[in-house]
């Protein structure tokens, strides 16, 4: 179980949070002017990387606020935590360890 540092409350156990999926997905400004494919890409398609992932979490059983987490999906290492509206931090991609299982 992850230990997540809520920017508003401090470090708390993962059970207090809910992951809210990938972050930094901009809603198209003028949906009526884009293709079906472009809209479907916004609604359905997510990067699902092996490695560095930028995602949003919400402190459901705490302050109930959303914030951003940069997490390594292989090691679960949390690389950065930042508030909504802040820019994506510049982080190196982790080295691939060839880890399976």
């Amino acid at each position: 179980m992850l230990l997540i540092e809520c920017p508003f409350c401090g470090p708390r156990a993962e059970v207090e949070f809910r992951c809210s999926g990938e972050g930094h997905i901009a809603r198209p400004e003028t949906p009526e002017n884009i293709s079906d494919e472009a809209w479907a890409d916004y609604v359905y398609m997510r990067t699902n990387p092996k490695g560095l992932h930028f995602e949003r979490w919400m402190h459901q059983h705490g302050c109930r606020r959303w914030f951003c987490v940069a997490r390594d999906t292989v090691t679960h290492k949390i690389r950065a935590i930042y508030k909504l509206g802040e820019a994506k931090p510049a982080l190196d991609e982790p080295k691939t360890e060839g880890e399976g299982a």
Partner: protein, 1004 residues
Amino acid sequence: MQRNRLSEGGRIDRSRPLKFTFNGRPYEGFAGDTLASALLANDVRVVGRSFKYHRPRGIVAAGVEEPNALVQLGEGGFEEANARATQIELYDGLDADSVNCWPSPDLDFGAIVGRFSRLLPAGFYYKTFMWPPKLWMTYEHFIRRAAGLGKAPKAPDADAYDKRWAHCDVLVAGGGPAGLSAALAAGRAGARVILADEQAELGGALLNGHEEIDDRPGLDWVADTLDELRAMPEVRLLPRGTVASYYDHNFLAVYERLTDHLGPQADAGPGNPRGRLWKVRAKQVVLATGAHERPLVFADNDRPGIMLAGAVCAYLNRYGARPGQAGVVFTNNDSAYRTALDMAAAGIAVPAIVDLRPDPGGDAVQEVRERGIEILANHAVVSVAGAKGLRGIEVAPIDPSGKGLAGDPRRIACDHLAVSGGWNPAVHLFSQSRGKLDFDTDLNCFVPGQSFQAECSAGACNGTFGLAGCLAEGHAAGVSAAEATGLTGKPGKAASAADRPEGSIRHMPTVPGKHPVGRGKAKHFVDVQNDVTAADIALAVREGYRSVEHAKRYTTLGMGPDQGKIGGMTGFAALADSLGATMPEVGTTTFRPPYTPVPFGAIAGRDVGALADPARTTPMHGWHVSAGAVFDSAGQWLLPDHYPREGEDRRVAVRRECLAVRGGVGIRDGSTLGKIDIQGPDAVRMLDWVYTNAWGSLGVGRCRYGVMLGEDGMVMDDGVTARLGEDHYLMHTTTGNAAGAFWWMEEWLQNEWLDYKVWLTSVTEKWAVVNIAGPRARDLLAELTRDIDLSNDAFPHMSVRSGRVAEIPARVFRVSFTGELSYEINVAAGFGLALWNAVMLAGQRFGITPFGTEAVHVLRAEKGYLAAGQEIDGTVTPLDLGLDWAISKKKADFLGKRSLTRSAMVREDRKQLVGLLTKEPGIVLPEGAQIVGELRAAPPIPTIGHVTSSYYSPILGRSIALALVEGGRARIGETVSLPLRDRTVEAELTKPLFYDPEGERLHA
């Protein structure tokens, strides 16, 4: 009589005899015994039958790794399957039976299987599945019965369990010399330490021998160390606490056994829990989990009486029990020479040590030589006699290649054989932490390599087997763990022990014998618990299995309760040998939590029974209970389904309730409906985003129906929102979607609409709601309120008024989910019951009738109103549901809008909401029934839709149904078929509205 009990020595209390029963026979042991040591002391040699071949099996180990001595313990609510006899502390009255001994351990029907063992080769499960299915049914019955491990208890668990969170600077897993040293150093440095060890007594391997530390008995050092640790206020010792699981971010689960050593408790329950699951978040972890001895793979190496050499030491030194009268030691390394010395010291005849190595020569070897015990170097055990208990062995010299024999076998009489193939560091927790294993070719074992979490390994689990090294590494690990948490107290000096040089190890995946592996009658077991032989591994390789993960699954190597603690590495070595590969190339299978089984009860903790999922009840719940309501659940809410009167069944009661609402007035508890208070100048902006229709035009005191979509265009929720004031709205959601709708709006507000001035508050439980519905509803309300003008013009349908109802401050919404004139009276929750009682009293002269959720469903279906979870199932758009009228044509955008024009969403053949009237009006279709257009004689018959709601309508005197049907609106008037289990029903597609199509009753 305890025939094999030593007259003195050990850590048992001979003044406290304990009676116990094993397989129905009475025995006696002593306090301090395990079930296994007591059985050994009583000369019980066969403790079970093997998994596949049902071969008689004896005790092999003294700890967690025991593969054979699995027992079914206790009965009723205290029954437990697959308990390891080596870990069961003996208590008076203990009653255990071998698992897997049908019909009895001595006369075993399953042993017949042994004669047909060709039928059970590697992959027998998979191969059996390929037999004709008809035969499989026969074989499965036989194999299941014969090959089970333990029986699942039938009664509910009588015990209660605790869960506890804990935080510490340093968690030490294992209380042997390394773990104790680490805990002491970290504790002295000022760290908050938790030290957990699976044993009742701390000391680890020191308990099994007579090693010295700081020039005095090792156990004196243990006692002093424990005294010092106990005196530290920030140190917690958890004996009988197994560190079972190592999860992410240094989160570990420790299962502490509280009462197992006392037996079933008369007062079992929350006041006297059986076990406690500790959820520990540790800044640093020191793993000091020790090592497990490897067996050697030789002909019939599974016979009762063949034990691990280290276990023999444990039984002799810790439990004062000897495995027999005459024993041989068979080894490939120095450690088992200590066993030979201990055996001789306990009065056991030791005719020989059989050593695979040509030139054994460490310290212990020298001592054995001095003692005059014969050492047969470069020899192997090539056969064993005694299926139900060892009677003797044959040994022979090995040829220089190590693959064959160099001389004739010679027989040695003995009743037990102590075996050592070297040691495997217990890297389970390290591996669970994601740590990478390295292969140490000198030690011939996997050792911890690169770490991924804040942990370090010390002592035997790190491949450091000597006592001096364990003490030094443990101390160093404690020091650096404390330092890593920023603590700077003085850790003191490491304890010291004599350094004893050891000779090297000679690794042989299988010991050479009279016949090559797989030939002859003898079996060479790599995994005794799962009955996997070296021949099985070789067969798997011949059949193309190369990956260790595949070979494991195919042969069942390392599965089952022990998870390969003995057999795993031995099997991987056999696999490497068959593949002609090295151990690092083969690798290991994944070590998964838990290290040893944790009771489900402990994982559930107190969240069982009524606490498994808390029930939410309304302020009027007590009234419903006394009125005899039958309850239904909506999420966690409990709501009256119907209120049966004397002699009524559900059908009759619901019919009566429906007709009362249509003909007079009914009363319903509507408190569970989701209520979200929305305030702020940007409330309308937000509503315009989350609902499909426009909200700017809604006047104060008016209500509007809204449909909420996901960005995928699918309907998430619907409900009525009222404008209470200039910047103040109250949104109603469906009962089950209250949390989801709140989440959805919060997500957008916090993530995207950061500049909106709008605040949401969940007020569902703040308000009690009494709904009165029916043509007499206005007359009834008029009896209860003086300050609200109830006339149709002053208080029309879809509006809200404030005032006093039964002298209680109230908001009254004129909204309807039944199609009747209907008011929902909202009062502060604390007034709910008072209001309900007042309405009931005033309603008497109108024949007021309480109605439940089932009647509501019938009434709303008559009107074609939608229900979440039935029509709204996450796959329908508002267009599918015929809600075009609720979609604003003027708004530039709202959530989900763009999806409604995607090509897939505008297809004519999407499933659309329609009504369904059966040709025979008495037939009520089952919900979920599939609808076909053209009924064909044989499958496949394409389905065109399904029934979403179906009821008998009392007011119409016939059945009605709602359905989602492909292109349904264009098919209205057509006849479709519904093939049911017992008959096929014909029905006509209609508009989804069966009663009062003009809505006159609503507006009456």
